[in-house]
């Protein structure tokens, strides 16, 4: 029986290329089929439904086919995912709705300063490979708290690890489910709340039956969908405009044209010098400190996020774990180095065909998004020509053409509207929606699994009932998965206001809580349990304190903790008059809305709260170092274990019972 199983599994690995090759070909045929159907007059709504249901059905089928009742399959996919495929799965795990839908829009709005996110969300993989990932693979953990517990003396360190993991993964997964709901509601016309729960069913189908094993093979399928969906519109656009199908090369010309147009707009009075943010000028939206702080926090956060680290537990060897990190970044790079091209092409289109155009002669695609409130012209939703003309007339001295200051666009629109801007058939829009959905679902899968695994493996099995039989452990894992998913969907359905900021916070929290303890645990044998525990508490605590106070208790921050207003990056003037805001009756309000004059606008050293990891992480390192030196050296046995982790050869340090 066992030989039969292993023979069929090695066949499975050998046939991966053929299987996913066929799948990719099938997906392309499916797109062509839908394109043909569109030509024959099948309505757009039907095409949209077909796209979403076909892709969801494929994910569900993979999930059912790869269901498992084995612990090691459930937690680490049996540790036999080849480097190349694990890289692809990590790519899908990593690239979320924020990357797929939001990134290009951020670059559109912020220009050069937006590149802090592009850099921050790629360079971190260097740290994963060099400092942490392969060593955790050699250690043989199922979860990140597993390592903390073993290295730092037991369940107290384990529970700290679980707290950090849940804190950063939960905020992150809520954002993904929110993104799923947004895409489904826009393209399928479903109600937002309903769409959230529909997306949730999709997620659960993949993750519940097969754990890591199912999520891995689904994520690869999702990567194929999302990368085809992301690249197709701009490849077509680039070919149309410049005759070369490589947008990453041709958008240099678009940038040159944008810069020329910016000067022209100022010269002709379409934009003011103060209102224009030149696309290539640095440090207009972020001060240099905040620009580099965001890069650092996102990079180090990458190397500390449990749902990313655990992907490298699934490779057959330490060597393949390292290669796999390189493949991951290559697959991620394909999307991230294309995002600035989206931003440049859209900006050029907006600057040349909208700004300076007569308000009564705007193109119809604008109104589709204007109706949803995502594009505003002259301060009103651009729902129809009459609405815009009336709104602009109401502004005293309006010249009758759209000026830069009249035009406001939601960042999510950039990627989703590119097919329409380029005048492409609807099938491409449907494809983009399916891609966005794949990005959101795959990340949500990975995050939910990380949370549920920590709760079932670390809390239930390791801390509550170490004698639990396999079946019960897996049942608990699945039940917890459903519970966590429902709670996060319920949170997402309330549409919390600062959903995107929360993604940034997740990185800072992971960085401050995990990074010092993980790195020192491998690279410095002298690190003691007490040192690491104090370091996690101090670093994570400071980061959490800084962002909770500056966001939710800004009045108290100013009054008791010496916080001051953040500064405008261009003029250096304070963003708010703190003295005046403190005199207002609502100054000391707790949990204020974003409209509160002080919320997110106060802090220490002019540091954005997204980058709170910059405060917590150095403190974490310092505390671990000092407290470790004060205590007794770790046992000879523990130091030998650390030596073992450093050598790829040999058995894993931690041997899990698998039956």
């Amino acid at each position: 029986m066992s030989t039969e199983a292993s023979a069929s599994s090695s066949d499975f690995i050998k046939n991966l290329g053929k299987m996913y090759g066929t799948y990719t070909g099938g997906f392309i045929l499916f797109i062509l089929l839908l394109a043909a159907m569109e030509q024959f007059g099948v309505p757009n709504r039907i095409l949209g439904y077909l796209f979403v249901f076909f892709t969801l059905a494929v994910y569900a089928i993979i999930g059912v086919m790869t269901r498992t009742a084995q612990v090691s399959e459930y937690y680490v996919a049996g540790r036999r995912v080849p480097a190349f495929y694990n890289g692809m799965a990590t790519g899908a795990d990593w690239m979320s709705a924020a990357s797929f839908v939001g990134m290009a829009g951020t670059l559109f709005l912020l220009g050069y300063d937006g590149l802090a996110w592009v850099l921050g969300w790629t360079g971190g993989f260097v740290l994963v490979s060099i400092l942490i990932g392969p060593y955790l693979r050699k250690f043989g953990a199922y979860t990140v708290p597993d390592f903390l517990s073993f290295r730092y003396g037991g369940n107290f360190a384990r529970s700290l690890g679980v707290i950090v993991l849940v804190a950063c993964s939960f905020t992150y997964v809520t954002a993904q489910i929110y993104g799923t709901g947004l895409i489904a509601s826009r393209f399928l016309g479903m109600q937002f709340e309903l769409a959230v729960f529909a997306g949730l069913v999709g997620i659960l189908l993949c993750a519940m039956l097969g754990g890591m094993r199912a999520v891995t093979w689904t994520q690869i399928a999702q990567y194929v969908v999302l990368i085809i969906a992301y690249l197709t519109p701009i490849v077509i656009l680039s070919t149309k405009k410049y005759g070369i199908p490589i947008p990453e090369l041709t958008y240099g010309q678009a940038i040159a044209e944008i810069t020329a147009r910016e000067q022209q707009m100022v010269a002709t009075g379409l934009a003011t010098v103060a209102g224009l943010k030149p696309h290539i000028s640095p440090f207009i939206n972020y001060s240099p400190l905040n620009f580099f702080a965001i890069i650092l926090c996102m990079m180090v956060g990458t190397a500390s996020l449990p749902h990313i680290l655990m992907r490298y537990f699934t490779t057959p060897s330490v060597r393949e774990a390292r290669q796999s990190v390189a493949w991951s970044l290559l697959f991620i790079f394909l999307l991230y180095f294309s995002a600035p091209a989206y931003a440049a092409f859209s900006k050029l289109e907006v600057y040349t065909n909208i700004i300076g155009a007569n308000v009564s002669a705007l193109k119809p695609w604008i109104f589709n998004w204007g109706e949803l409130g995502l594009i505003q012209i002259c301060g009103k939703n651009a729902g129809s020509i009459d609405a815009i003309v009336a709104a602009c007339k109401a502004i005293a001295g309006h010249p009758g053409v759209v000026r830069l200051q009249d035009f406001v666009i939601n960042t999510d629109v950039i990627v989703l509207s590119t097919p329409e801007i380029a005048g492409l058939p609807y099938v491409i829009s449907g494809l983009v929606a399916a891609g966005g959905l794949a990005a959101a679902l795959s990340t949500a899968d990975g995050l939910l699994l990380a949370i549920a695994n920590a709760l079932s493996h670390d809390v239930y099995y390791k801390m509550i009932d170490p004698n639990a039989p396999t079946m019960r452990r897996l049942t608990v894992a699945r039940a917890l998965l459903v519970v966590v998913a429902v709670i996060s969907a319920a949170t997402a359905a309330t549409k919390p206001a600062d959903i995107l900021a929360m993604v940034g916070w997740a990185f800072s929290l992971a960085m401050a809580g995990n990074f010092p303890a993980l790195v020192m645990g491998v690279w410095w044998k002298r690190t003691t349990s007490t040192g690491a525990i104090c370091g996690i508490i101090a670093g994570f605590g400071l980061c959490l304190f800084y962002l909770v106070v500056s966001r939710y208790f800004p009045g108290a921050g100013v009054k008791f903790f010496g916080m001051t207003s953040l500064l405008n990056p261009v003029t250096g003037a304070p963003l708010v008059d703190v003295a005046k805001a403190m005199a207002l009756p609502n100054a000391m309000e707790s949990f204020p809305t974003l409209a509160h004059p002080l919320a997110n606008k106060v802090g220490w050293f002019n540091l954005n709260n997204i980058a709170c990891g910059l405060l917590g992480t150095p403190l974490g390192f310092a505390v671990i170092y000092v407290v470790s030196l004060l205590g007794k050296e770790p046992s000879k046995e523990m130091q030998d274990y650390v030596d073992e982790i450093r050598k790829p050869r040999g058995r894993t340090v931690l041997e899990e019972k698998t039956t």
Binding site: Y112, V126, Q253, R319, F337, R646
Partner: protein
């Protein structure tokens, strides 16, 4: 006894080399993550011929990213060579 002393020596030498490799790559990473972008304004005055990108913008949008990808493949290779040299690599 000589065997275990020998093992200890190999472990230490292996870790010294690994540490040196780590520091080298962290140095390159630091340069392309931070240092080069501090000079974005002067670099933007240089325009890449034919493509038309200002160099400072290009480095943040593509240049550094390409460096990261390439260095990860090289790192995986180099670390594996070190592991093999001291006999600590896994069987192929």
């Amino acid at each position: 006894m000589p065997d275990s002393a020998n093992l200890k020596q190999r472990e230490e030498a292996h870790w010294r080399k690994t540490t040196r490799l780590m520091l080298t790559h962290l140095g390159i990473w630091f340069f392309f993550s931070f240092i080069i972008h501090m000079f974005v304004t002067p670099l933007n005055k240089i325009v890449i011929p034919i493509l038309g990108f200002p160099l400072g913008f290009y480095m943040a949008a593509q240049g550094s990213l390409i460096v990261f990808v390439v260095m990860l493949f090289i790192f995986a290779r180099q670390q594996d060579d070190i592991d093999r040299e001291f006999g600590f690599a896994e069987d192929d």
